[in-house]
């Protein structure tokens, strides 16, 4: 049985990844999951310098999911390279580094700094964080801006580039096409959907940032639809995510057209989720006699 998939020349032992920002750099989940069993660890977003993120409360629960407004707190690329990448050296899994910034230059600085890091297999460019005003509006919701930042990153990047798309757009197909046209090696989607919660007893927003990103099972139908639309708009590989809780969900994304998938908020519900998804995919393949996971991709037309 073959569960391995390839994206831009990088071979993953299976299609199961961690969604950026929900798994630290793997360190925090090493007690629960054997990282060697995962297709890839996708790290929390890292910027050129340390970011303090947003005030608290930063997270709140909603029906079938959660809202977060972490605001991309991160220790900066230097600490990240010396600590998190070093930690990941010992593991036999691919490493995708999620990159964030407030200006094109910020992004370029991180991409260049990581260019010679051997432990970095791919870069995922987060132009879609709804919790950082600059990042989201400027790059992730206008196709011209997305095209621009993608092509500028491609000029300097040594690793293949995944553009992470925002679902908060009228046409995901248009955004996917812009990324592809600008040379992105792959796209990943969806980032969180902007949401809000009000505490009617305290008469306050549940999050200090007022709005936050919705994730978890609640958003899965939207994510599957967008993966399907993107898969029909572009030819580059897609990493699908949004509410994946088990192998059935993962296979749904693959059948919609994703080459790989990532588990996000459901790690918080069950820290073993990623490994269970890996096992569950194999069970599904055995049950239905699927020899190669790649046969399932986009099978539902």
């Amino acid at each position: 049985m073959n569960t391995s998939v390839e994206i831009a020349g990088v071979k993953f032992k299976n299609p199961v990844m961690t969604a950026s920002g929900t798994f630290g750099s793997g360190m925090e989940y090493a007690d629960f999951v054997d990282l060697n069993k995962l297709g890839a660890v996708v790290t929390k977003g890292v910027a050129n310098v340390p970011w303090p993120g947003n005030p608290t409360p930063r997270v709140t629960e909603v029906y079938g999911g959660m809202l977060n407004a972490i605001g991309l707190q991160n220790p900066g690329v230097e600490v990240f390279a010396n600590r998190d990448l070093k930690f990941l050296k010992d593991y036999d899994t691919k490493v995708i580094v999620n990159v964030c910034g407030k200006s094109v230059e910020d992004y370029l600085e991180v991409v260049e700094r990581l260019g010679d890091e051997e432990r970095v297999d791919m870069l995922e460019i987060n132009v879609s964080c709804p919790n950082v005003k600059e990042g989201a509006i400027a790059f992730g919701q206008k196709s011209a801006a997305l095209y621009d930042i993608t092509s500028r990153i491609k000029e300097v990047a040594k690793q293949p580039i995944i553009m992470k798309l925002s679902p908060n757009v009228t046409s995901i197909a248009e955004m996917a096409k812009a990324a592809e046209a600008a040379g992105a090696d792959a796209i990943s989607l969806i980032n969180t959907i902007t949401g809000m919660k009000i505490d009617i007893h305290k008469r306050k927003f549940a999050l200090a940032n007022k709005t936050g990103g919705l994730s978890g099972p609640a958003i899965k139908p939207v994510a599957v639809r967008m993966v399907y639309e993107a898969a029909h708009a572009v030819n580059i590989p897609i990493i699908g995510m949004g509410g994946i809780a088990n192998a059935e969900d993962a296979i749904e994304f693959i059948m919609a057209g994703a080459t790989a998938i990532a588990v996000g908020a459901m790690n918080f519900h069950d820290p073993y989720t990623t490994e269970k998804v890996v096992e569950g995919i194999e069970e599904y393949m055995t049950r239905y006699g699927v020899q190669d996971i790649n046969e399932l991709r986009g099978i539902v037309e």
Partner: protein, 266 residues
């Protein structure tokens, strides 16, 4: 540090302690490693709510391999917990957080202070301090617990391990006012304070401790998602750049929930 896990725990007993306050004993291997001031994440089974609820460890019984949780019903998760019956199984994540640095009380006069639903974690703290071996034993253990009114809970149990003082907002029992009022009124001496409670109380303790030159360790609360340090949801502001975050933020779930008051920007 012991390995974290998520596993089923068996309900041994559940009792109502005071209005809306429940006392739940769970059988779990986590008991072997649990320290006072640490907490567990309790998962509701209601599938509309997916995140674990952080609840402090109130007491540990290694022999029965059991932990005790004392919690207040405030929302859907805790309302569900209140329905659990002996022999039910529930899922918990743990053991989480750092716990109180008991060794800091060695040879000192220590006061454990709790307010409202911050009271429970101090019970195991007082118990271990009272039972400490000679070399690390505090010279005196006092407990000052603050409640809203006469609906107090755990008071008698504290009295087993510490000189027990009570403060109530409405003055119905002990000192009228908060835990600091009780400290002053009762002239309670302290070299070290271990405290847990609402933010205004913790702020008052920090100020009081600074004023009196007392070392204070405070247990904080914040909304959590992962409970294991991955999501960066639960941070508090620190005076110094934190070793992990490299900004002035520490993760309450992992670097805390107990912090040296001097390190907190509150």
């Amino acid at each position: 540090m012991s390995k974290k896990s998520m596993a089923a725990a068996r309900v041994l007993s559940q009792n109502l302690l005071a209005e809306g306050i429940y006392d739940l004993w769970l059988e779990t291997p986590i008991a072997q490693d649990a320290c006072p001031g640490q907490f567990v994440g309790v998962y509701p089974t209601n599938k509309s709510t997916l995140l674990p609820r952080p609840i402090s460890i109130c007491e540990v019984d290694k022999e029965r391999s059991a932990i005790r949780l004392v919690y207040r019903v405030v929302g859907s998760g805790t309302a569900e917990f209140a329905l659990y019956q002996p022999e039910d199984y529930i899922k918990i994540l743990g053991v989480l957080g750092n716990g109180f640095p008991l060794e800091a009380a060695a040879g000192k006069k220590v006061v454990v202070m709790g307010g409202g639903i911050g009271v429970p974690p101090l019970l195991e703290t007082a118990k271990r301090l009272a039972a400490a071996e000679t070399a690390v034993k505090p010279v005196k253990v006092s407990a000052v617990m603050g409640y809203r009114n006469s609906e107090t809970f755990l008071s008698e149990e504290f009295a087993k391990y510490a000189d027990m003082f009570t403060a109530t907002e409405d003055g119905s029992i002990g000192t009228k006012g908060n835990v600091i009022d009780a400290m002053r009124e009762q002239n309670i001496e302290a070299d070290v304070i271990f405290a847990c409670g609402p933010m205004p109380m913790l702020r008052a303790i920090k100020n009081y401790a600074q004023e009196k030159g007392i070392k204070a360790y405070l247990s904080l609360e914040e909304r959590m998602a992962c409970g294991v340090g991955a999501c960066l949801g639960c941070i508090c502001k620190t005076t110094k750049v934190d070793h992990h975050s490299h900004v002035n933020n520490a993760r309450i779930c992992t670097d805390g929930p107990v912090f040296d008051a001097d390190d907190l920007d509150m």
